[in-house]
Amino acid sequence: MNALNIKRGASSHSAYDLRDPNAPVIESHTLAVIVENEPGVLARVIGLFSGRGYNIDSLTVAETDHAGHRSRITVVTRGTPAVIEQIKNQLGRMVPVYEVHDLTVEGPAVQRELALLKVAGKGDARIEALRLAEIFRANVVDSTLESFVFEMTGTPEKIDAFADLMRPLGLKDIARTGVAALPRGV
């Protein structure tokens, strides 16, 4: 019953030549979503990600324009190129969404995250923690005789690296804000 006997990918115009959907090309993208600051808007965005099986690596949200009732949601997500495109389109069609920017493809962008790290220790470990903090330009925002709270700003990778160093030195707790990002230039 194979009436035409056309082989898969027989035409150079076949849609399937463009991209193998099973290829393990997972990309990380930072999206800036400008939304109307209405009740439930964050739940709507998160519900889209969970309902359709997309990943959220980091999520930051705050009102950025009080008079205009606008909030900025910065979300770092992972997926194949097709999934990333789909995420942007799904976000873009939501009623309270004004704009969706893919900062990963729209040109260079600045990405920063703020973290607070509590490190407890005595003796050499305490001195080493303070020394490393200086190297990483982390500030001490709280101190007792047995602990520090460091505040640092940087890329997620920098914070990861600092946290990894602090772990053997007595890292007790870490609080991170998630990524905030803006395009460079005007």
């Binding site: 035409l4 898969r8 035409s11 076949s14 849609a15 873009g92 069609r93 009623v95």
Partner: protein, 582 residues
């Protein structure tokens, strides 16, 4: 003008041109019902279950092209509406559901009949609102209608706490209501259209593949589609949702495509070199196995929803736009360039298609002793052809047979639950259609199992004198489940037979309408005519062959060119991989 929130609801509905509301009262919407009682412009249809209200609103909307409206109370009223909302979301049907809510000061206290309605309905609406201030109520209702009908249509819900209904504020007229920034793109990119037109000029084996988007775009879209198809001479097939946009009697019509679509339609899709998708979404019922879907074709996809394009199938040209505007632009460009097509290629293509047509894939084994379901629908089609007829269906084998054997000449004449596949849709939908078209013949083609899911709505049909005809193909089985169990699960018919069915004739009498039983093919014509002639609702118990399977069929996980045409071909065709698909 100052007025209460409850009055605002009625005023805003009037301003939006609403003439009918389907609903069910309860504590949290009593102020609105009090206002409905005191006016005559809007008719309220009392349903028997809130799911019925939403399906009726859907039937009303699909058959008129207008926005359907349902009104339900808080808590259980709202949760009962969820299936209908999801159904409307998947089939892109514009409806507005108004729900009552406990007073604002009680929200969050687990009050009587309190539910987090906006939370529950957030994923099954296009958008929803909880209105906490009466001053915002009228504006929100106007915005809700705008959202429901703009872009890709869909269901919206407005949750209105009881104190907001009682409080007084200034009414926001429709003209001054802010519809916000929500204005989906309608005008297609002319360059993308040009690329499509260029492809159309040279294609040897083109096919139009159209869907519900053509119908949602309005009657002009169907007219333009017909003009384009006739002018180019291209073959055309359609999804379940798009039937009627191009007439079934049209010479280029291949019939429905997809899992139970026609042989010629599916093979044309598989073998084409240019696929022009207009307002369809490459649903899994259409594509079969993605990796072998139409492997040799260039693909164009016209859709008003950007997220539909490249979601499932990657296309060569994606055109975001309204179907009417896109077809207008495409026709203009195509004519301006000299109305060219590849005549030689087309002639060969049609010769090939006619070979496929000659297979006569809808053939079935006739019987003189039992009514074959296909025969029942052939007779229904023959006896109602040319009538001012609307068809709704439930979900299952009968739905697919109806799509195969009934012909639709116009859009808005065929109402079926496509995306969600909601059993229990057809009866309430038929009432919604009949309320909108009181003089027309409205038939719900049903299976007995689906029909029982919302049969309480016969009470609504009686109360509101909606003479809907319930044409039940009764095989005493959950036919499609049974078919899959036969093909996939070793003929172990787990819970797929209907025991203890009611006597449908007595049931009709209990509701006060007419019941007809038909068991013999010889009596069928006369029985159908009796159903059509009867001035009132009819429950028609058509006893059909119990083990008939629906063919053609593309088994799960198979491509289009591996269709099954009949029972002899079904042994061992679906592997374990296919069995996990639905």
């Amino acid at each position: 003008m100052q007025m209460t929130g409850a009055r605002m609801v009625v005023q805003a509905l009037k301003d939006q041109g609403v003439d009918t509301v389907f609903g069910y009262p309860g504590g949290a919407v009593l102020p609105i019902y009090d206002e409905i009682f005191q006016q005559n412009d809007i008719r309220h249809v009392l349903v028997r279950h809130e799911q019925g209200a939403v399906h009726m609103a859907e039937g009303y909307a699909r058959s008129t092209g207008k926005v359907g409206v349902a009104l339900v109370t808080s808590g259980p009223g709202a949760t009962n509406a969820v299936t209908g909302l999801t159904d409307a979301l998947l089939d892109s049907i514009p409806i507005v559901v108004l729900s009552g809510q406990v007073p604002t000061f009680m929200i969050g206290t687990d009050g009587f009949q309190e539910a987090d309605t906006v939370g529950i309905t957030r994923p099954c609406t296009k958008h929803n609102w909880l209105v906490k201030d009466t001053a915002q109520l009228a504006g929100t209702i106007h915005k809700a209608f705008h959202v429901a009908r703009s872009g890709r249509p869909g269901p919206v819900l407005i949750d209105i706490p009881k104190d907001v209904q009682f409080a007084t504020a200034a009414y926001t007229p429709m003209e001054s209501a802010a519809t916000g920034h929500y204005a989906p793109k309608r005008t297609p990119d002319a360059e993308a259209v040009a690329r499509m037109v260029e492809m159309m000029e040279t294609a040897e084996r083109p096919v139009f593949y159209t869907g519900g988007g053509v119908i949602n775009s309005g009657r002009e879209a169907s007219r333009l589609l017909r003009e384009f198809v006739e002018a180019t001479g291209f073959p055309i097939t359609s999804t379940l949702m798009g039937l009627g946009a191009y007439p079934a009697s049209g010479k280029n019509w291949l019939g429905m495509l997809g899992m139970h679509g026609l042989y010629e339609a599916n093979l044309a899709m598989h073998g084409c070199d240019l696929m022009i998708n207009i307002g369809a979404r490459f649903d899994d019922r259409i594509t079969g196995r993605i990796s072998d879907f139409s492997p040799g074709s260039r693909k164009v996809h016209v859709d008003i929803d950007p997220s539909s394009i490249n979601k499932v199938i990657r296309v060569d040209v994606g055109i975001v736009g309204d179907v009417t505007e896109t077809l207008t632009e495409a026709l203009r460009q195509w004519k301006a360039r000299g109305s060219k097509v590849n005549r030689e290629g087309l002639a060969k293509w049609w010769a090939q298609i006619n070979e496929w047509r000659a297979v006569k894939c809808l053939s079935y084994k006739p019987s003189t002793t039992t009514i074959k379901p296909q025969y029942a629908l052939e007779r229904l089609e023959a006896l109602t052809k040319g009538m001012d007829r609307y068809i709704t269906t439930e979900v299952g084998q009968h739905q697919m047979w109806a799509a195969q054997f009934l012909g639709f000449e116009e859009p808005h004449r065929w109402m079926t639950s496509g995306g969600l596949g909601t059993m229990g849709y057809g009866l309430p939908a038929s009432i919604g259609v009949q309320i909108a078209h009181p003089e027309s013949l409205v038939i719900n083609v049903a299976g007995e199992a689906s029909w029982l899911m919302n049969m309480q709505e016969m009470g609504t049909a009686m109360q509101f004198r909606a003479p809907v005809k319930q044409f039940i193909l009764n095989n005493e089985r959950l036919g499609m489940v049974r078919q899959w169990q036969e093909l996939l699960h070793g003929e172990r018919y787990s819970s797929s037979w209907s025991e203890s069915l009611p006597d449908f004739v007595k049931l009709a009498e209990a509701f006060g309408c007419k019941g007809i039983l038909c068991t013999d093919p010889k009596d069928l014509d006369e029985a159908i005519m009796e159903m059509i002639r009867y001035d009132g609702p009819v429950i028609f118990d058509c006893r059909v062959e119990k083990h008939e399977n629906c063919f053609p069929m593309i088994p799960s996980g198979k491509p289009h060119n591996e269709m099954l045409l009949g029972d002899a071909e079904t042994q061992g065709v679906i592997g374990s991989k296919g069995a996990v698909l639905v």
